[in-house]
Amino acid sequence: MADAQNTRDRHDVVGSRHRRVDGLARLTGEARYTDDIFLPRMAIGKILRSPHAHARIIAIDTSAAENLPGVFAVITGKDMPLPYGIIPWTQDEHALALEKVRYIGDAVAAVAAVDEDTALQALELIEVEYEILPAYLTPESALATGAVKIHEKNKKGNISKHVLLEFGAVNENMRQADLVIEGDYFFQGTTHAAIEPHCAVAEFDSAGHLTVWSATQVPHYLHRELARVLGLPQENIRVIQPNLGGAFGGKSEPFDLEFCVAKLAQKCGRPVKILYTREEVFYAHRGRHPMQMHYETGFDKNGRILAVDTHTILDGGAYSSFGLVTTYYSGQLLTAPYAFASYRFDSTRVFTNKPACGPKRGHGSVQPRFAIEIQLDKAAHALGIDPIELRRRNALPAHTRTVNDLHIRSNGFLECLDRVEQASGWKERYGKLPFGHGLGVAGSTYISGTNYPIYPNDMPQSGVKITIDRSGRVTLYSGASDIGQGSNTMLAVIAAQELGLEVADITVISADTALTPVDLGAYSSRITLMAGTACLQAAKELAAKIRSSVAKKWGCAPENLTLIQHSVRALDDPDRRMPVIEAFALAEAEFGTLCTTGYFETITEGVHGDYRGATIGASPAYSFTAHVAEVRVDAETGLVRVEKIWAAHDCGKALSPVSVEGQIEGSVYMGAAEAVMEEHTTMENGLLAAPSLLDYRIPTALDTPEIEAMIVQSEDPMGPYGAKEAGEGPLHPAIPAIANAIFDAVGVRIDMLPITPEKILAALRVKEAEEKSTVRD
């Protein structure tokens, strides 16, 4: 028995280093992306965009464009007057602007033509008369008295959302604190910069049924919104998400082009494709909100956190997008991995005339994480406590509730800290490196899926169906979106593990609303936990059927059988085995066609508290991360070189360690880029300063630090095999760890992102001047 168990472990698919299901196809160029779709008679669509940051549309004349030979259809806002938006309570977008444009790049009209050149020519022929309105490019100007409302229907001026929540006696604790650290932080906006631009293709068949292929991470929500805006029954629409070339949150809500291809296709009776230019991707944005954060943190003399009081202004851009959630997240997700004795956050999201902000990897919580982790570093220095030790003293235990009543089960944070401390040689090196060379630490937590669906309903959040055909091939159907993060592989790993197969034996069909059970989409790092649980359930049920048929034949108990290495084996007699394909046939003969389903239902018990807003930020399980960053700073130029980042991430259980490592590396890369390089900013008139990948700088391989990814496995009771998320959490600590390392290197704090060399030089000069004056005194 023990022997059989050992064999089992050695041949586990879960936790093994295997290939991705789509790895080769992506490497060889065989994988088809949305823009690879060419349909017969397909027209090319283009969207006319506003050159004004804020204006009223007085008139649109499309007649010249319509008369241009080769133009099939022209549409404007009037063709799709219903508003949409990812959050049901804040639907304030139109596929094409109805009355107003709210940022440079807002969509105004669209054409479909025989080719791209003709479509572009047609755009030039559309005459739009605008009445220019004052453009608000900062939250301050948008909030000033007398400012024109960017959304007329908004109740409170240009405030998009305000959240104020308080837990415990903040004022009193702050008064009693031995040390209060106060700081102002600014997180500059950044964008996703996925390499594949947004693209959509639409086709109507002769029965009037619409198919939309789109580079989206939320096919299900897109399905619903298309039906609503186009006024078509949902059952007549099919949304297919082809292979995706990256998303990072930038494709997690409906976009103008998806409605436009559908409407244009309907109007011109041809399939229509629209592919964004890179510039349009920058306008579509939905990237990280710029946040101004005022933080006050009270500590006792031992470094324990007594009170955290935060004021945050979120620069939301022109539309709501996920902003309601972002505003909550900016406070709700701060309450782990450290115990706060009391906590208050006051966050306000403001509309401005810029591309809308939304969710980017680490939605809403990367910015506050930057602030708090620097606050902790400042406190550690003020109290003379090692920054890692200070974090240990404040670390929450496993199986606890946070100050805002989130239920944490597994928690591998302390192990994460230990791992980075050891690997980086922290004890020997921290604080002892020569001037210009430094180490910094930071920790974080993230959700493994937002607990509730975006539109309230009691149905499962994710469904999986598994079938076995007589060849022995297993086909798995899931609505989940593989956006490059490897969710299809994750599903195949689980099915292979349970059915005694290999990853390559499983065909995964995903994200096609006509074929696959609903999954809500690739956002909030929910898929491994939710779709994984659904998959595990379906696979286990199928495996049980197979075991039971074989048990019947062998006259033994099904519990005594295991599926492993393409065979069914008896646990107590390793020589007794049956090829799995025979076992499948036995089961099909007994049970009929083999097909099972599994689903993940919303967990309603004990996940969160019951105050207003308690549901936002709640998750079935939380991941934990710690980073140590090593930097070199050239004090003459102010240039920072991030040499290395050690990242330890508690993902519960690594179903595919290579994928987890990849997610950690990708996250660290992205965080490091936001720390020292990226900024999505506008010029004085509201034009984007850098709407191209030349000017919006993401690091090249030469600019990327060495990354050591370490996996910590705390096995959460809520996740499949104990798995939690790994796709977003590992980004968070990179930015404050780098900022803290810069302080260790040259003794200056840069609390405004990105940390550019001129900020460092300026800070060094100030420091020098201060030191000189103290010497003189």
Partner: protein
């Protein structure tokens, strides 16, 4: 993807044919070498009058590297990737070869030619943008507009010359050969440029740059430095070259600096040796010259990044370049 306005693509198989095509087209044709500058600019629709491109691909006359009587001659069609590792260059002018190796990125260097790099259009954050973006801005002197956003009220375009090769080559007193159906002229490279960012080349529309001549002088040393945010791909935000000619006794005869990315024309400082009190390049001299260049150069907000910081960087890079001249082993380095 951005689409250029449709254009004709012309090929020719002899230099003569190319020169006639250029002559016949009265400026409506653009020379296409590697295309790494021309094609992005066409996609941005910077040249509305351009109806055709003339490919230099099949002209062997524009290739080759040879040494003749103390002169290194490089064909304008030579690719930067090849030049950066060319044995003749690495042996005689290692700092120049290394300079070529810092330009853009490996992929771009595989396409980009030296001629194209010398004829690179000027750059400005208000111009290297899409047609849509520039129209939303209201245009500028260099593209259907009558204002300059870098120097408000200015009547001259100050878009930045952003090539690296020319900076090093001017420091080396390189000359270029320009051909047209009318004949051939040879001018110092520095005279190829003028200070109008909207038309920064003195090259006539019917002329083609064919060869580059670099004098080989013993006792001459070159150092090139550049700074850009990323360590690959980015155009320089600061670049400069320094050249020193010394006699056998180590006395500096001539010290020259050339600075790019200021305005449309590289700036040349030919008499820096006069600033050396001791007649040799020592620590004090290095500081003096670095300070002098710092004071004399004023980066503008024409390319991205804070001009004040770029000015600071210029001093640091000048210092580092001058220090490099003191080293035996000369290699041009990028940033830190």
């Amino acid at each position: 993807m951005l689409r250029p306005k449709p254009f004709d693509h012309k090929t020719c198989f002899s230099l003569k044919e190319a020169l006639h095509l250029l002559d016949d087209s009265a400026g409506g044709i653009k020379i296409l070498a590697g295309g790494t500058d021309l094609l992005p600019n066409l996609k941005h629709r910077l040249y509305p009058e351009t109806g055709a491109v003339l490919s230099l691909r099949n002209l062997p006359e524009l290739r080759g590297v040879e040494t003749q009587q103390n002169e290194l001659i490089i064909g304008a069609g030579e690719r930067l990737a090849d030049l950066s590792s060319h044995p003749a260059l690495v042996a005689t002018l290692p700092a120049l070869a290394a300079t070529f190796g810092t330009i853009a990125s490996p992929q771009i260097r595989n396409m980009a030619t030296l001629g194209g790099n010398l004829c690179l259009d000027t750059r400005c954050r208000y111009i290297n943008q899409t047609d849509f973006w520039r129209q939303a801005l209201g245009g500028c002197l260099k593209s259907h507009g009558d204002q300059c956003h870098v120097v408000p009220g200015g009547k001259n375009c100050v878009a930045a010359f952003s090539g690296d090769a020319a900076i090093a080559l001017i420091a080396l007193e390189a000359e270029v050969e320009l051909l047209s159906v009318q004949g051939q002229r040879r001018i110092p490279l520095v005279q190829l440029y003028r200070s109008n960012g909207a038309a920064h080349l003195t090259l006539h529309p019917n002329e083609l740059l064919s060869r580059i001549f670099i004098p080989l002088i013993s006792g001459r040393k070159l150092a090139f430095r550049k700074w850009s945010v990323r360590r690959s791909i980015d155009f320089p935000l600061v670049n400069l070259a320094v050249r020193m000619d010394s006699d056998a006794g180590g006395n500096v005869q001539k010290l020259v600096a050339v600075v790019g990315v200021l305005a449309a024309k590289p700036k040349v400082f030919p008499r820096l040796a006069d600033l050396l009190e001791s007649g040799t390049l020592d620590a004090r001299g290095i500081e003096t010259i670095a300070d002098f260049l710092f004071r004399k150069c004023a980066p503008l907000p024409n390319v991205p990044y804070d001009p004040g910081y770029r000015k600071e960087m210029l001093r640091v890079q000048a210092r580092r370049a001058l220090h490099a001249l003191l080293q035996e082993d000369l290699l041009s380095v990028r940033q830190d």
